[in-house]
Assembly symmetry: C2
Homo-oligomer: 395 residues x 2
């Protein structure tokens, strides 16, 4: 490493504020007038050099060879010029960073919070009492024709986790064009789309005419589908057939607040989710072992619940088994009470779309004909489309 030296410089930026720059320890420090210092580690700056031999513009890729990278490098010179930070390195390499580019990456909590919110819109929970207010309705043709409406629909799915699409008609095949606006339908072993109506000899209880208990779809997949779309083709005028919806996120927040020990049990004790079926003449045996509530960095990111596809194997210490049922009782009671559960009878031509990571859905018993077509889209592609449509791609 070179001996430590301090370089100073200043520039009037485009906004005519006075910026200064210096190196301090292993960081470059930028300062605008008397505002807080903006610190950028040397190693991060060298790693993110934007010159053509370090960054391939066409593919938006860092092409510095990490095997040869000098993790201990420090600038030999820093300078502000033309609203850019210019850095010289000991190996005679020169880097240039525009101030707006640097400011978008500053290591300050408020800037980082803004970026985290823009990269994935933050979810907001709701109770049954709030359902009518939060439920947004979108016209099928408008989603197909307007990027702005498409963006609003996807944001509703991200934030509230549920949205209604109207005017889709009563023919099958209407989910594919919706998914194409985002990316493509997710394939499962039930196919790209699936038909929900009473079938004799069904290998999935969804295909019976009885009630369907509140659940999330396919918890036995490690890669559980992200967004669920249920298109109502036929809904008999006889009784029943209402869809039931619960915001599991809201239930989790309540449980964490009111019964933290039960929350802890449900978010740590792994359960076996299991599906054994024959589809298209082939046998499948899917298992995913995970808690009912899955957290990442303290946030609920996935809720697994399916009474019918919960395995009978429960490989945890026996004392956890009893504790788990106690915690589950609390969860189940809250899921089914009037604060949580919404009843909504879909009309033909409507598509109920919701976040399969957090929203539980079910169905009341029905008589007569009922026919839904279902399909899935994964969140990777929903968020990607939101970013592209929100123009956050360039910052």
């Amino acid at each position: 490493m070179l001996p430590f030296r301090v370089f100073r410089g200043s520039v009037k930026s485009l906004k005519r504020f006075l910026w200064t720059v210096e190196t301090k320890g292993d960081e470059v420090v930028l300062k605008e007038d008397d505002k807080e210092e903006l610190r950028f580690p040397h190693v991060w700056l060298r790693d993110n050099c934007q010159c053509p031999s370090c960054f391939h513009r066409t593919s938006n890729s860092r092409i510095i060879d990490i095997e040869q990278f000098d993790f201990d490098t420090s600038p030999t010179d820093v300078l502000l010029k033309d609203s850019c930070l210019l850095v010289s390195w000991p190996d005679s390499h020169h880097s240039r960073y525009s101030l707006p580019w640097l400011l978008a990456r500053q290591f300050t909590p408020h800037n980082q919070h803004d970026w985290l919110d823009s990269y994935k819109p933050l979810p907001r929970s709701w109770t049954a009492y709030q359902f009518k207010q939060i439920l947004q309705r979108y016209q099928y043709q408008n989603i197909l024709n307007s990027d702005e409406v498409l963006l609003q629909w996807l944001k509703s799915l991200s934030v509230e986790g549920v949205a209604l699409v109207e005017g889709a008609g009563t023919k099958t095949g209407r989910l594919q064009p919706l998914a194409d606006r985002v990316a493509f339908l997710k394939q499962t072993y039930y196919g790209e789309t699936f038909t929900v109506k009473a079938k004799p000899g069904a290998t999935n209880v969804a295909y019976l005419s009885g009630s369907l208990q509140l659940h999330t779809d396919l918890p036995y997949y490690h890669y559980k589908p992200g967004v669920n779309m249920l298109h109502c083709i036929v809904q008999g005028s006889w009784g029943g057939g209402e869809s039931q919806l619960v915001d599991g996120l809201s239930v989790c927040e309540w449980l964490r607040e009111e019964h933290p020990h039960h929350y802890w049990i449900l978010s740590t004790v792994p359960v076996v989710w299991e599906d054994r079926v024959v589809e298209g003449g082939r046998h499948y045996h899917a298992i995913h072992r995970a808690p009912v509530i899955c957290e990442e960095a303290g946030e609920v990111v996935r809720i697994n619940w399916s009474q019918v596809q919960r395995g009978s194997h429960f490989p945890v210490p026996i004392d956890q088994v009893t504790a788990w049922y106690r915690a589950l009782q609390m969860f189940i009671t809250r899921v089914h009470d009037q604060q949580s559960r919404v009843f909504y009878k879909l009309n033909p031509g409507e598509i109920l779309t919701f976040n399969n990571m957090r929203v539980l859905h079910g169905r009341s018993t029905y008589e007569g004909d009922r026919h839904l077509e279902g399909g899935y889209i994964d969140w990777d592609f929903v968020y990607s489309r939101i970013r592209v449509l929100s123009n956050v791609s360039e910052s």
Copy 2:
């Protein structure tokens, strides 16, 4: 809850051992001669009643209505008869569990370990020195024609995380039949299969003729592809083009043992993995924020590494940034040293298959023609196929 009562019974099982049964506290206790007690919580037994009104055999589904479920129930009678446990409940419901079914679900550590190993074969790490010994080779046609060979190939992928498929010929389209033997190809926005050869104006550095640094594919997907298949169609006789492979699991084990602090940093500090591309005329902007090393319950379940698709945004406290680069330096040094890195030049007609969750792959610079076709299968379906072919489905 009913007053606590103890019932006793005994039966000679099929194997002619003497079994006894009694209830103790909130558990039913089975005992074979003087062996250890096998305990089954009352609530678990009731929850897993196998009678036709509690369990739908055709769909392998629990159909007990959880909303009405009595979490506090206790047997009024227990009895062993004809190698079955018979339980009567206060609501006059009767349950019958076969002893083999119960024994397969016993809450003892050794039984649970066996089940966990059978539900997902446990991985074994390897170093570069062991590569020749651990690399299993399979004939393409044998995988298509023989369930036994198919199973062995999938087990190699699960345990060693790498296997070579030979004799696939030099036409494209050979990955689809392989994937069909398991389930189907995973679709990404690069398509169901992708072509790796030098393309002008490439939007992904894989499509240049330079070296391709060691990486895992698509870390910017939350649903990163599970198994990677690279079919060599053309490999020029000019220099270069060797594939490079590293068992990231082995690197992680070394890091955890030798440099636990660096391991902790790499397994907790989230990094931005990012891809901005135009494919098929459409813009995508994928981001996944996760550590380099992802753990679940103390096990490494996913390694994210791609120098080229690591974002310049790094929204963590600035002190973690410098610490992260220090830890990365250690990881990168180990990845590239001779204990870890394997060079293998694929021959036309060979398909390199490996676990994209743990194996890093790369390519040396080449001259002349080179053409690979790539495709993915997800682990949900690989494990499902292993279970079906291993006949573990019925236990």
